[in-house]
Symmetry: C2
Amino acid sequence: MPTSISAWVDEIRSGNLRALSRAITAVENRTPESLPLLQSLFAYSGRARIVGITGSPGAGKSTLVDALAAQFRARHQTAGIIAVDPTSPFTGGAILGDRIRMASHSLDEGIFIRSMATRGALGGLSSTAADVATVLDASGRDLVLIETVGAGQDEVDIVRLADLTLVVLVPGMGDDVQSIKAGILEIADIFVINKSDREGAARVERELRALQSLSTRADGWVPPIVHTVATIGTGIAALLAAIDEYESFLAAHSLGLQRRIANWRIRLQQMLRDELLRRIEAQSLSEEAMTQYAAQVAAHQRDPYSLIAELAAQSPTSLANPPSGEQAKDLPKDGTPC
Amino acid sequence: MPTSISAWVDEIRSGNLRALSRAITAVENRTPESLPLLQSLFAYSGRARIVGITGSPGAGKSTLVDALAAQFRARHQTAGIIAVDPTSPFTGGAILGDRIRMASHSLDEGIFIRSMATRGALGGLSSTAADVATVLDASGRDLVLIETVGAGQDEVDIVRLADLTLVVLVPGMGDDVQSIKAGILEIADIFVINKSDREGAARVERELRALQSLSTRADGWVPPIVHTVATIGTGIAALLAAIDEYESFLAAHSLGLQRRIANWRIRLQQMLRDELLRRIEAQSLSEEAMTQYAAQVAAHQRDPYSLIAELAAQSPTSLANPPSGEQAKDLPKDGTPC
């Protein structure tokens, strides 16, 4: 490991917030040093409790996350918050909200907030969020909260990779339990009914219980339903107790490692796919070739479906060789036709 | 082309709605017949006007799209609507909304609505939406409207591949023009300020004009700003006139083909990436191998970053050999080394 990476890791682990912040930026931007950095930091990860939080837009997740982090602080534990909001092209909301939240916690170095508002062209947001969680974990944070707006599959993928997943519902927001896809209900280890002082909270709970009675989880855990009013702190202690209870359950049945293995299987597959995609992108067709093909298709001289089948059939072969242009020279020496 | 595909294409082109619906389902599910079907249909595509519509959630896009389609019907033209809403895991809103919309148009075979609420694991939604547009185009629809909730980059990618892109804004929804990312403003050929009877419509227009004064488009077009109240039909005729004007502009400057070529360049790249990804997925690691690696990583015996680098380095080579093993037989006959 190069000296600078080693020094950087030491700074991160000693609580230097600038070093931590710089590391997260490096990971987000996939700078060349991010790989050795993550390789080094990984050895120190695995200690934090990673909690994923998702729920419909407007469910008050940010407030809940902040309240949860504050409750952890009261226990003298540190927290890192990753707020994933890919809705930014329109609202820019994540960034604004992040600044406001940063301000409210800014005097407390024990809570570190980072928002990820951009989605990479390659859909690598899920991997990136998980890598950022690894950095926060390795930096010594006791709790890492990953919060998503929960609008799409990507966001669901992100939170399901946590050690524990909270699904936040609210009464009367048009998201009746019936209209919530089964996939969301399945990933919940704990349900939170936030804004539970509103009318309809009891009905949401009743519907959840009815759904729960229809099927049981393979591990036997029955996700508890916790009522909160995050804005005034109601129910946060009960939520923390439910989190502790779930962790005890996992420990008692030796399920913690099993869950991490299952999560790593999914994450490794994502990482492999992302990495292969990056390699594909790095040696995609030349601009001119693509423009020529596009002109042929636009003029209807060629159908795009047959064209892509042809190009894809060629491409894997060329992937076996580096993009540097050595391919043509190397192949004959190789002796293998393809 | 197999007889059944040929008969299917004939049915689609003669206006058989069941055949059309079945074709779209085949394309969405990528059934084996979808490829020959698309190859055949492509020859009949290129006649429809493809209009993409995006905007912040709650901007009233669905109502606007319906009003626009109805206006086209008044001209005795037919329309197809593709409503892309990947937010379904939570709200289920797209499907419900679709049923309501279908009901309102159900007596009119001249308007065909299809919602796409699911996002494929490989992020192929953009390609799929474009393929569905090709099917509707080939079926003889005069207008194909592609509407997205506009929450993320994916949705922006979808509408930018249209012949013409509408960006819908509303006054006072917290999406001040300043907070809208430049990327969205750049893709607009026409701006629509919907719900323009609300306070603040004039301010939105003023801000848009101020932004427009800062830069000019390469093609010289200045996107007009149309005020609408879609619920009562106000401004829809003016919007249609603006659409016609833009098309005349493209024709007068021979820019239509240029735009289609530029769009096809992006779309071909997406298609190639999606196809390569499918090939990667088809021969990804075995379940057991992945579980073993996951167990090693979960136990911290191995860091995932080095592991993925190793696996990715192996994978391209193995990709050179097709899963079916037929390539190896065919290539030598060809005589070409690669």
